[in-house]
Symmetry: C2
Subunit: 345 residues, 2 copies
């Protein structure tokens, strides 16, 4: 599969208008449900039908991969945790599993670049990645394979009936390439995008800022070519996520974005498939500073501001019940007529 | 039942510490789930047990009542809508019904003061209320009966197994007394608390501001006596809600607060039963300006900021899945030990 995406069509403008008109006849003052109305209208426009259908198969895909830069002290946790957490996802013990169960979603884990063997490596591109502060993360071929894998996963999920997608990340060190991708495409300084990740101390913070500074110097050579940028400055997990997010839009399937790592993939995906962002809603704004920059760049307003910073898709899945609720409001509320209720004076 | 409340005991400090310690051994960096951790810890402290139990019977009680001040053009909708909406709640067509169904909660409606007959008037105190800009809303006896009814409802619900409570409001004109109650107990000016309610126009805004100004002059005579304040400046629905919220705390049952009307009742309930607010979490911050003032006064931080302004408990029930998720995170996630995952470097 190529790394060229077909043009992304927007959600249906006609159905959006239909949804807005329907909100006005439901038994509530128009606009009184605020963002729940806005999100319900967006879901209807994505589905191309109003009232919208209830979601039958919300699906989370967690993209796991290690990052070479983690060898240089940018994370509070050792890289072996990435593979261990893959096992935790498969056993259902991680935060995203619990949150998905609450929201009625199911979780798939794919190992794109874990630095060890896992049972979910069918689409694995390589082990770990080059340390992006001094070398490319991936070769061009590896990067293209990762993007293609992400596209394939989106296709598989949509073909299997997924009607709402969430991408999640798992990878020790992954907030460093994420900060670099976001800084490079938004013209931000290293200090504006560096965050504490899983919880680094002040020494780690200084190492991470230096790594981001060095990596950003290399990344900036590639800002006009998203595939080259992903090759130099991401990792197979993030490149796959970018392909996944772009392909979800191509397949007209709504997506709830998670935190800074998915946000970084989203910023690149929008470069690869302009207009893809219209198929996405921001589940939350994370505590990582680069995330707010990414969301502003994409003109997306988060549903939750909970100071979450875990990844895994956790922030997106936490917001999923709100998207479900917004959809059901538009589909299931009574109208003034059907309930025999008087309108405005 | 008297309007004197026994002292409110706080949620368990010891269990709160236990919950905080448990968050540190779950398979995520400590603090990485942000407010979900904070809310889960609070639920455990309220239940007095860690890990917390999943909620088995989240219950919404909608308090309906009309307001005499609505005769003077402070609302965009006619008073007959209050009784019509009671019918809509009972048929399941209102926003709160749909949201409760999504969240796994059930809804009870009580008619405290609808200006007409409804099938849910067992505890009804009177029809409508005095127009608070020129007369008392209730007699002292009516007010005490309404508070006692709210207490009784909380007791009935807790005795029937409710382990999480939500109060909702329905009453054309009810944001006017709410603004007055909040302004009187927080020392705010009329212009700081007046909002658009269900959607008044500029003429209505001026009438509403004048009504609030006049009502506030009367309310300020009673700020040292919460029962007298409710009698002069609320309505039987709001007085019952205040009794309900205070009694929930007495019964050690957590509550998710809704918008400005419930917020007004909560501000008074905290006066009647100091410390009750520790049993409450703010579901959302509404678009009504007085609501932010009430939440700040109660030192409560909203879960959602969705520009909702419907009432009915809708904002609280929209946030309910987040409280459920926070509880399950603390109860169901794997620990580092159980999952065999390495800790911080």
């Amino acid at each position: 599969m190529s790394t060229e995406f077909p043009p992304v069509e927007p959600p249906s403008e006609a159905v959006l208008r239909e949804a807005e008109a329907r909100q006005a006849v439901l038994t509530k003052p128009l606009g009184s449900l605020g963002r729940l109305e806005e999100i319900g209208n967006w879901v209807a426009a994505c589905q191309g039908t109003c009232p919208p259908r209830p979601f039958t198969r919300p699906r989370v895909v967690v993209f796991a991969g290690d990052h070479g830069v983690a060898r240089h002290g940018v994370s509070a946790f050792p890289s072996e945790v990435t593979g261990q957490m893959v096992g935790n996802f498969l056993k259902g013990g991680a935060a995203v599993n619990v949150l998905a169960q609450v929201a009625g979603a199911t979780v798939r884990v794919v190992d794109m670049a874990v630095d060890g063997d896992t049972p979910v490596g069918e689409l694995k591109v390589r082990r770990s990645s080059g340390s992006i502060d001094r070398e490319d993360a991936l070769t061009r071929e590896e990067c293209e394979a990762a993007i293609a894998a992400g596209r394939q996963i989106a296709d598989e999920e949509v073909d299997a009936g997924a009607d709402l997608l969430v991408a999640g990340d798992m990878g020790i060190g992954n907030t460093t390439p994420s900060a670099v991708l976001i800084a490079s495409l938004t013209g931000s300084e290293p200090v504006a995008v560096v965050g504490r990740g899983t919880g680094i101390d002040d020494q780690g913070w200084m190492r991470k800022t230096a790594a981001i500074r060095d990596a950003l110097r290399r990344a900036r050579l590639n800002i006009s070519d998203p595939v080259a940028l992903l090759a130099s400055s991401s990792g197979a997990d993030i490149a796959a996520m970018a392909g996944f997010l772009a392909q979800a839009a191509v397949r007209r399937t709504p997506v709830i974005l998670d935190g800074v790592v998915v946000g970084a993939a989203a910023v690149v995906a929008e470069e690869m498939a302009p207009g893809a962002r219209e198929w996405w809603v921001a589940g939350h704004q994370s505590a990582e500073p680069a995330h707010a920059i990414a969301l502003a760049h994409l003109s997306l307003k988060p549903l939750l501001e909970f100071e979450m910073r875990l990844g895994e898709g956790s922030g997106a899945v936490a917001a999923l019940p709100l998207v479900i609720a917004a959809t059901k409001i538009l589909a299931e509320m009574a109208t003034f007529d059907s309930a025999g209720i008087s309108g405005k004076d």
